[in-house]
């Protein structure tokens, strides 16, 4: 099975996640889309790992999973905090960081 297929699939998944991040405004969904993009990256890493016959890539993916988990934890913590403060769950409303 040619490795290109995996890479193209990875790119496709990444694009879908990216579109989600840009288009959606619910922070929970955005986080989900980020997961998609991360998993796409993981897929690419695994594909390369397979191709080179080297398991380092797999360790990378594991670390990526850990980081993703962290990001999820913090991100969801933020979502809960927003909800607690009765802020709207819409990233467009969070514009305090404006320059």
């Amino acid at each position: 099975m040619n490795i290109e297929w995996f890479l193209v699939l990875s790119a496709l998944l990444f694009t879908v996640g990216l579109i989600g991040v840009i288009v959606r405004r619910n922070p929970v969904v955005i986080l989900l889309c980020l997961e998609l993009m991360l998993s796409a990256g993981a897929l690419a890493l695994l594909a390369f790992s397979r191709m080179l016959g080297n398991q380092d890539g797999q360790v990378f993916v594991l670390i990526v999973l850990v980081v993703a988990a962290c990001e999820v934890v913090v991100g969801l913590g933020l979502v809960v905090a927003m909800y607690r403060r009765r802020l709207p769950l819409d990233v467009d409303e969070m514009k305090e960081l404006k320059g």
């Binding site: 496709l12 959606r24 619910n26 989900l32």
Partner: protein, 181 residues
């Protein structure tokens, strides 16, 4: 056989991904992501990453997604408001993203990576992708990365508690945005 498995997995993973983006209700989006992850794990298996496939299912589809479900349930299935502060993003974003996809695809399929277009070596060592092999690597070559990751996890946990933790309500200290909605 392998191709069939790949295409099944690919269609499932892609369908799940599209569903995540397309579904209005975040709760359903979470479920769609679970489906995506399951199919993705299958693809992982094709790439001889048994341990990671298992980890994906167990940690992700199992633990993390449960967290999502809880949060989604907690905050409720909120419909997105009609009003969009920058509608142009809805157009520009996807177009740019697709452009990126096209560019990457050209890189992959076109001449850019042609040297890499291979199925990989056939003489894969036994135990490639098994927990044992990955464990060895982690404990030997990538120990620092591993420890760093664990510290990161710890920090993230603390951060989540701080962020989401209940504190004494002080209505005066609410940020302005809270009242304006």
């Amino acid at each position: 056989m392998e191709q069939i498995a790949f295409f099944c997995g690919a269609i499932g993973a892609l369908g799940g991904a599209i569903a995540v983006v397309a579904l209005k209700n975040p709760f359903y989006s979470v479920l769609a992501l679970v489906i995506h992850l399951v199919f993705l794990a299958g693809i992982f298996l094709l790439l001889m990453a048994q341990f990671l496939a298992a980890a994906l299912i167990v940690v992700y589809a199992g633990a993390v997604m449960v967290l999502y479900v809880f949060v989604a349930a907690y905050v409720g299935g909120i419909e997105e408001p009609r009003w969009d502060s920058s509608p142009e993003l809805k157009l520009i974003g996807p177009i740019a993203a697709i452009a990126l996809f096209v560019a990457i695809s050209i890189a992959i399929v076109g001449s850019g990576l042609s040297a890499l277009s291979t199925t990989g070596p056939d003489d894969i060592p036994a135990g490639f992708g098994t927990p044992e092999a990955v464990g060895h690597l982690m404990m030997e070559d990538f120990l620092i990365a591993f420890e760093a990751a664990s510290i990161l996890l710890l920090l993230a946990a603390v951060a989540a508690i701080v962020l989401a933790g209940r504190r004494r309500e002080d209505p005066n200290k609410l940020p302005k945005g809270g009242e304006s909605s």
